[in-house]
């Protein structure tokens, strides 16, 4: 396998190469450490390269595999983690300049679980400062600079899991962990042409992850393929006494025993006319492909103030979670001018308004569950536009389609969703297909995503790096 092929190989392919002796965990770690140092740095995708830890973990993986102790497909596979996941003794900056020297004594649970699966941490990846919770309006909102898109260096990578999206998209890491409160996995996945899975709320422990919004934060993988997302989710999911919101059920990823056709899919066309023509065309072409393995039925979301409820919840919880940074004035050290002021307004949201949003949220969850119970999943574009130019504010570029209703609805209800690459739009930038599932239905949306990828070439395409 050539060098570039290695950069863009799937987890299964890399695992096979290790087991047949064509490469080793140490060789892979050194290869991706170099990719992060060169490609990753150029894309502003990296905060810290964890060379010492990576080589230590890789050597251990090599010794274990040589001794016949195989921890599974992630054993010896390098990865990067969004820099809001704590890693013992290594800076965890939350993307924020005032916190550049912040160090925690323990690994976050998701990092511990990947270590237990034998994966090798090669770097802490760039992110929008405070996961975007202070209200950024343009790409230059991180201590590492604006996230640069691997398909077009004049375009943004998306956020807030910026480095997770661009590093995977550019072949600088085989997979990455990101987090989503409201769009932060699906948007960079769509913009960078990779698969990004937002798990059900509570599926993955948040212990050791920066809190932006306790009732909305989710940790999930960004990978080359839907199958890779399933493999990583299986490693990081599960109950954790350190996070009381984790679901008691265990997630098992068994692609061989799940169906690959016969799906019932709802099609959400809301806002389609206002989207960029290429995004719309990619989606309509995706429907033709999905029709080969599914029955399709148009659906509409029930009428709720989704965006307003999410705005109040994120505003209030974000201000509370970062009260010390705001009240102490250190927020003035953030990179984006709008973020330096963004948290103050949230400190004044009345408790009654916050609680009203949470009271409506229960109605939202019940109504959406009734809708999703009639379908295996609902499909729609991941975003209404491709990645914006680095020089523009988001609203200037995307206008009214910047935020799709399904984004606030799905996150409010804690529903799982995946974005997979489904074509290209203007300026050679990727478009994404979003597949949203019922609570706990990650296996189903992964099956739909795999069925789509099995019929299309998009996930195998990659930029030249």
């Amino acid at each position: 396998m050539g060098s570039t092929e290695l950069a863009f190989a799937s987890i299964r392919d890399l695992a096979r190469l290790i087991r047949c002796g064509e490469t080793t965990p140490t060789a892979l770690a050194e290869y991706f450490l170099d990719r992060l140092e060169t490609v990753g740095r150029r894309l502003n995708a990296v905060v810290t390269i964890t060379r010492e830890r990576a080589l230590r973990e890789a050597r251990l993986a090599e010794e274990e595999l040589a001794a016949g102790y195989d921890r599974g497909l992630l054993h010896g596979i390098p990865y990067g983690a969004k820099d809001l996941l704590a890693t013992a003794g290594i800076p965890t900056t939350w993307g924020a300049a005032p916190l550049r020297d912040q160090v925690f004594p323990e690994d976050a649970t998701a990092i511990v679980r990947l270590r237990d699966a034998g994966a090798v941490l090669v770097g802490k990846l760039a992110m929008v400062e405070i996961a975007g919770g202070m209200g950024y309006t343009q790409p230059n909102a991180s201590l590492t600079g604006p996230g640069i898109n691997p398909w077009n260096e004049d375009a943004w990578s998306g956020g807030s899991s910026s480095g997770s999206g661009s590093a995977v998209g550019a072949g600088a890491v085989p997979f990455a962990l990101g987090s989503e409160t409201w769009g932060s996995i699906l948007v960079p996945a769509s913009y960078c042409g990779v698969a990004g899975l937002r798990p059900t709320y509570g599926r993955v422990s948040r212990r050791g992850a920066m809190a932006l919004c306790w009732t909305l934060d989710k940790i999930g993988p960004l990978c080359r393929t839907a199958d890779d997302c399933g493999l990583v989710l299986a490693a990081i999911a599960g109950p954790d006494p350190g996070d009381p919101t984790t679901l008691p059920s265990v997630f098992q990823y068994a692609p061989a025993s799940t169906r690959s056709a016969g799906f019932r899919l709802g099609v959400l066309r809301e806002g389609l006319d206002a989207m960029q023509p290429e995004v719309r065309d990619s989606f309509l072409a995706s429907l033709d492909v999905l029709a080969e393995c599914a029955t399709l039925e148009d659906v509409a979301l029930p009428d709720f103030p989704y965006g307003e409820a999410a705005t109040i919840i994120v505003g209030a919880e974000g201000a509370a979670a970062h009260e010390e940074l705001i009240e102490g004035g250190r927020i003035a050290g953030l990179t984006a001018p709008e973020c330096r002021l963004g948290g103050y307004a949230g400190t004044l949201i009345p408790a009654v308004d916050y609680l009203r949003a949470l009271r409506i949220r229960r109605h939202v969850a019940v109504a959406l569950d009734q809708l999703f119970a009639r379908h295996d999943a609902i499909v729609c574009p991941a975003t209404g536009v491709v990645a914006s130019p680095l020089s523009l504010n988001f609203d200037e570029y995307a206008g009214t389609v910047r935020r799709l209703t399904i984004g606030s609805a799905g996150n409010l209800a804690g529903l799982p969703a995946i974005s997979v690459h489904n074509g290209f739009g203007e300026r050679g930038l990727p478009t994404g297909l979003q597949i949203v599932g019922r609570t706990g239905a990650e296996s189903t949306i992964l099956a739909v995503a795999r069925a789509y990828e099995a019929r299309t070439p998009w996930h195998a395409k990659h930029p030249t790096w």
Partner: protein
Amino acid sequence: MAEDRASGSVEIIAEAMAKTLEARHAGRFTVEEIATIRTRIGRYLAAADKLREYRLSNADEPDLVFMPYRREE
């Protein structure tokens, strides 16, 4: 059930809330910064007004569950 705010009152309330912040953090903000914060407050007020249009009853509880704690022995 609260009455809907009168038209234009969002600006008035936002102004008052921004003054609260100025008082809490005396000397921290420029005039332009206070204007930016006031705009953000206005967005939250408008969002809250929209939420008030959705009817709730006394039986509608917040989607939070409090769990009394007792250490396992």
